[in-house]
């Protein structure tokens, strides 16, 4: 770089080293060698080859989307299965990609059943040049009914056993891809660790019905007259992914590298995932919707972020937000904020007024008529600082949530229970 902090985007996920932390997830964009080479040309640092196993037969009509208020596909789902291409073709192409792109990461996703099958397919993947393996214990549709995918990911004992086979047979790092279709993610991450995994990747897709055809009375995507549950992904699942990643990242018994997946659509999402402990991020939906080219902004945005925050490596920034991911009982009940509306920025839409009145604590009111303004008035004595007004406000930085010095020392619920610390009087609780 010509100026400022020198930034190195090199990523290391359990021994899988890539020139940057942006990987294609195991999915349609990573279905073939030609695609992955185009992705590497566009700037992607790694690719998780679409899951190899016994090639399957797919249905037609495989994808569905959740559109919201003019934005196409804020959520996405699919009922596509693992690769439908002959294994020898896939392995030939893996070898070709690795020959042409030796510095990029090619991680091969695998899903088979028996110990012998695992031994065989792992050998072939490594012989083809795989830099790492990803065990698909996550797919929640089609494969799980056959005892694979999330059927494995939901059973810690099975997860541990198959992971241990893979680690036994592999000479390259093994990542276990986890399913979010569980009540708590930690037992499943710990099972992968006990099996000897070098890292985990999460989340796979979430079981979903993406929509219903309201004229035909058939869920979507519609295959003839029927549909089935699909795997939900895309921007809308990002909060769920981050929660599960955060739960593993802060678990002192875990400690494995994480490749983050789930709604990563731009550099900012990637920063958030890395701050929550990820060494790399995997992207599928955003590429499916907009193409490999989105990685350019991801690389540039992450680089600028690191430079402006003084990080020279991914490792320096990784997990910076994890210690601050805490329990409700540790939150300061005496911390108080109130909404402040900037009259110079307010456009008078009253979105905050109606949201506060109907959805919060009735503390933002239209200015009195004689005031001659549409800038609403915040009754700070009633404002509980819930953030709703700031969320609905269409103008950037118009509403800020300002901390109030109420004279009370910090006190958490846990401290209140154990030490009897003094809590400030409740607001808006009448």
């Amino acid at each position: 770089m010509a100026f400022g902090t020198s930034v190195d985007l090199t990523s290391n996920t359990g021994g899988i080293v890539t020139p940057n932390p942006f990987w294609l997830a195991s999915a349609p964009p990573a279905n073939s060698g030609a695609q992955i080479m185009r992705a590497f040309d566009a700037g992607w640092g790694g690719a998780v080859w679409k899951t190899l196993g016994t090639p399957i037969q797919n249905v037609s009509s495989r994808f569905g989307a959740h559109h919201f208020k003019g934005t196409r596909a804020i959520g996405f789902n699919n009922i596509e299965l693992i690769t439908d291409r002959p294994l020898e073709v896939n392995f030939r192409e893996i070898a070709e990609v690795k020959k042409r792109y030796p510095k990029h990461g090619v991680i091969v996703s695998l899903m088979v059943e028996t110990r012998d099958e695992w031994r065989d397919i792992i050998k072939r993947a490594i012989d083809a040049g795989a830099d790492g393996l990803e065990l698909n214990f996550g797919c929640p549709h089609g494969m799980c009914e056959r005892g694979m995918g999330s059927a494995v990911g939901q059973e810690p004992a099975l997860n541990e056993k198959i992971t241990s086979w893979a680690v036994e047979f592999s000479t390259v790092p093994v990542l276990v891809k986890l399913t979010p279709n569980v009540d708590e993610i930690n037992p499943h991450g710990l099972a992968a660790k006990r099996g000897g995994a070098h890292g985990v990747s999460l989340i796979n897709t979430i079981k979903s019905i993406i929509g219903v055809d309201i004229d035909r009375f058939v869920p979507e995507p519609r295959v003839g007259g029927l549909s089935t549950n699909g795997g939900y992904c895309g921007a809308a699942v990002k909060p769920i992914a981050m929660h599960m990643i955060g739960c593993l990242a802060r678990d002192p018994d875990f400690g494995l590298p994480i490749s983050g997946i789930g709604g990563v659509a731009n550099w900012r999402d990637a920063v958030e995932f890395i701050l929550l402990g990820c060494s790399s991020v995997q992207v599928c939906t955003e590429v499916m919707l907009r193409g490999y080219r989105v990685v350019g902004d991801m690389i540039e945005g992450l680089t600028e972020y690191m430079r402006s925050h003084g990080f020279s490596t991914i490792e320096e920034m990784r997990g910076k937000a994890v210690p601050q991911f805490s329990e409700w009982g540790e939150l300061d009940l005496n911390y108080e904020t109130v909404a402040k509306i900037d009259p110079a920025k307010c456009i008078g839409c009253h979105a905050c007024v109606v949201a506060c009145h109907d959805g919060a604590h009735q503390c933002i009111h239209p200015a009195p008529k004689e005031a001659g303004t549409r800038v609403p008035v915040v009754d700070e004595s009633e404002c509980v600082g819930c953030n709703l007004c700031q969320i609905v406000c269409p103008v950037p930085d118009c509403i800020t949530m300002a901390a109030v010095d109420n004279g009370f020392k910090p006190a958490t619920w846990n401290e209140f229970v154990s030490e009897g610390k003094t809590l400030r009087p409740k607001k808006g609780a009448h």
Partner: protein
């Protein structure tokens, strides 16, 4: 559904001159409407609604477009304003709803409310979605004098409340200026008539066209026939200039000329230069229409300046873009003629005090001169109605449209002096509600 010859668009001449005009603001397609509707911030207590004389719940009808509830969207509009289709096209939205849009406050393009309203109401009329039924028969009857938007809106509202209605219109076509006077690049006569037919579709509105009160029927007879009367007769003939040469051919009132080419055909082949005298919205309509009709050189001649003209700035800006030029501070003193036809105007320049500047005389050649200097008031029409007061030719009404006669109400241009269609609709509807209150309280007859 009542659709007599006075509202049958198919009875209009097909070759009428207005048919050649395109839409100044073209209809939105479904994708455009959806994209625009999705931009709406769905304000609460919205400024756009406050700016609408008929109080249409604009954020609500736009949200309904965005959710695919187009039928409900049009219901929201038409429930507030049964002339929502024409108002969507003819309203000066730049100074009404769109002018109030909060996006203006963030220097972002405001929502195209008029075009979205047209999107919903065009569909309602095309599909003949009917929302409103006549109320149970009240046994009361209201006579409405004048067949424009004020009377029609009043009649529709009265029918929803079960009162029998009869409209008396002096002309042939119903719809008032919506049919005969709106610039064709906003609304054509056939669409205006289709809307009138839609409004009459509520049923129970009798129409007597070609009936002029005073000539064909007296006020006493109307008062005897009906429990209440609504007067919505609009304005009278174009004012003229009493200057030498006023009888030359080729000098016409602007409103009369517009009606002529909207309902029939005008031949302007011999007109190379046209002058419109005036600075109001009728004058601006006229110059833009003359350009649209193919007159090569069109001039607006006004005694004040650009800042003083009463026409809307956005309309005048459009006229300038279309190539109209203006002569400011100019006043005609005589028509110039050749062979019995007008050939131009002799004018004087006016000073800041509006007095002629000595020696500042100019001649403006023109083969057509349109006068858009106001219309006569029809106040004298009501001279025989006891208690009805006039002020400057306007019928004096209160906020409910009530006159000094307990059974007579009025609204629209004859009462407000000449405003927008949307004002006429609002006044007609408000008067209808007041009439309903009076009739159901048993306060009349």
């Amino acid at each position: 559904m009542l659709a007599g010859p006075m509202v049958d668009p198919h009875k209009l001449p097909e070759d009428r001159s207005e048919a050649g005009f395109g839409d100044f603001k073209p209809a939105l397609g479904p994708a455009q409407a959806l994209a625009e509707a999705n931009r709406c911030l769905y304000c609460a207590d919205a400024p756009c609604v406050q700016k609408c004389p008929t109080g249409i719940d604009i954020p609500e009808f736009i949200r309904k477009i965005s959710t695919g509830n187009l039928k409900g969207s049009a219901r929201t509009i038409l429930d507030a304003n049964i002339f929502g289709m024409s108002c969507a096209r003819v309203c000066p939205v730049e100074v009404l709803c769109v002018g109030g849009c909060v996006y203006n406050e963030m220097d972002a393009p405001p929502i195209a409310i008029g075009r979205l309203q047209r999107y919903a109401t065009d569909a309602a009329l095309a599909e003949n979605w009917r929302y409103f039924e006549a109320g149970p028969d009240s046994g009361r009857s209201v006579g409405l004098v004048g067949g424009g938007p004020a009377s029609l809106a009043a009649a529709h509202e009265l029918r929803r409340r079960g009162h029998a209605c009869t409209i008396y219109d002096a002309g042939h076509w119903l719809g008032g200026l919506n049919t005969t006077g709106v610039a064709p690049y906003k609304l054509r006569a056939d669409d205006a008539l289709a809307e009138v037919a839609y409004v009459l579709g509520i049923g129970g509105i009798a129409v007597e066209s070609g009936v002029q009160v005073g000539r064909d029927v007296g006020w006493d007879a109307l008062l005897a026939r009906h429990d209440a009367l609504f007067i919505g007769v609009g304005l009278g003939a174009d004012r003229t200039l009493d200057i030498p040469g006023k009888d030359l051919a080729g000098i016409e009132g602007a409103v009369a000329f517009i009606e002529k080419f909207k309902l029939g055909r005008v031949d302007l082949a011999a007109v190379k230069r046209a002058v419109v005298v005036g600075g109001g919205n009728t004058a601006i309509d006229a110059v833009r229409e003359l350009v649209g009709l193919g007159v090569p050189e069109v001039t607006m001649l006004y005694r004040g300046d650009e800042a003083a003209m009463s026409g809307y700035e956005h309309e005048w800006n459009a006229a300038k873009v279309e190539g109209v030029r203006a002569l400011w501070h100019t006043q005609p003193t005589a028509y110039l003629g050749r062979g019995g036809r007008v050939a131009g105007l002799r004018c004087v320049k006016l000073g800041a005090d509006k007095r002629p500047l000595p020696g500042e005389v100019l001649e403006v050649p023109a083969e057509l001169v349109l006068l858009a200097i106001g219309q006569a008031r029809l106040g004298e029409l009501v001279a025989g109605l006891e208690g009805v007061q006039l002020e400057g030719g306007r019928i004096v009404v209160d906020a409910d449209g009530a006159t000094g006669h307990s059974r007579v109400f009025a609204g629209g241009d004859c009462a407000n002096g000449g405003k927008e269609v949307v004002n006429a609709v609002a006044e007609g509807k408000r008067a209808a509600q007041a009439i309903d209150r009076a009739l159901t309280a048993g306060a009349s007859k």
